[in-house]
Symmetry: C2
Subunit: 212 residues, 2 copies
DNA sequence: GCTGGGGGTGAGCAAGCGCTTAGGGTTGGG
DNA sequence: CCCAACCCTAAGCGCTTGCTCACCCCCAGC
């Protein structure tokens, strides 16, 4: 876990999707959805990007919405794993918060294309599929809240409103996917480090001074 | 300026749009775009919400995109006025930062429907119209940056990266439009106050302790 | 009471949409 | 050498889209 951080900490982002043709279609869909949004993307565009005819899509996926569902589920699962791994990891609450924010932000920056779809196309999912994904989101919220509560209990943090701060921290990190890489001014690691510092300050555990 | 804060500080959000029929269409479009997104909204839906036939829309607007452009321009102008008013107002850098974040967030929460369209449907605009709006966005960025720079120069703030922190502050505030009012747990004023406090902490001017 | 014109409608066009179906090329087992 | 299983495509179906056009209604001015 060192050089691959630039891709958000993943070596093979969609390695779990098989067969190969299905993966190519899914990657094409991620790019198209991220660029133009779900509703503005046509199945012909997705198939075209994958080098196939429009009909080929329906051999591997029942509908266009199933593609979004698969992308959203895999993406949210990955994001949740990052947060829970940090929340349940070793170290003080401050250590865990830094690691959570850092790795979560690195993923949203390094995998900005995927993250944009995952975070901003939720409403395009059907009723049932959206409900599934909302459950994963709640667990993301719970992981961050757990760290903040622990920090408050331990006297490490000074936070007047744990729920509100949880929301603000997640909101701040998620929005990275919207603006990242408009130019190449920062690397994912740099944004991750900066945001970890900002969030530490938000919970009253910041170190105004130490970092050069 | 007291009770009307719940609507984001505006008495008559679209009062500048005339004649009446054009305003009704525009308000219908804002609601539809906010609910389903620009691309998923049909001109029939907009006209229907305004109580008119599909053809009536084209008496007042040339295209569906012109509607979005009008909404986006008016909305961004309003948001920019809020930030510049705070940035160029009286008081210390900390005072101005608090006022900027507070009023900006109150608007994004109170006018969440409008703000969602303004902040998240930018890419749906045509090339030229988007370029216009991007200029307004840059001025928003400049206003916040001005406050932060002043605070650093005056020794009030301790901020390692002014550009990055400017981005983070704006990102945090803008994202309020995405999540606000999923339930009614906070009022716009409450979110505004909480966010102003969080941002003060981010710039190293927070007061961990004072507020109960 | 007639009239002219601005605000509105019903019907519909061309284009593009998600998705289906009949059929063709390639490959591995007998 | 055949053939069946597997992927994929060309063509196109039924529908919806943004938008247009011929027409109508209502009301102020003479």
């Amino acid at each position: 876990m060192s050089t691959a951080e630039e891709t958000g900490g993943e070596n093979m982002p969609w390695g779990e999707v098989t067969p190969d043709a299905a993966r190519r279609l899914l990657i094409a869909a991620v790019e198209a959805f991220a660029e133009r949004g779900y509703h503005a993307t046509t199945t012909r565009d997705i198939a075209g990007r994958a080098g196939m005819s429009p009909a080929a899509l329906y051999i591997h996926y029942k509908t266009k919405e199933e593609l979004l569902h698969k992308i959203s589920t895999i993406g949210h699962t990955k994001a949740l794993a990052i947060l829970e791994s940090a929340a349940d990891g070793p170290g003080s609450a401050a250590d865990r918060l830094v690691e959570a924010v850092r790795s979560f932000v690195v993923w949203h920056a390094g995998q900005a294309t995927t993250a944009r779809v995952v975070q901003y196309e939720l409403d395009a999912l059907g009723e049932e599929h959206r409900a599934e994904v909302v459950l994963l989101r709640r667990r993301c919220d719970a992981a961050v809240r757990r760290i903040l509560s622990d920090g408050v209990d331990a006297g490490e943090f000074e936070v007047p409103d744990v729920s509100g701060t949880t929301l603000a921290v997640l909101s701040l990190c998620i929005d990275v996917a919207r603006w990242f890489s408009l130019d190449g001014r920062w690397t994912p690691d740099e944004v991750g480090a900066m945001y970890a510092d900002l969030v530490l300050r938000m919970v009253g555990a910041g170190a105004p001074g130490p970092q050069n």
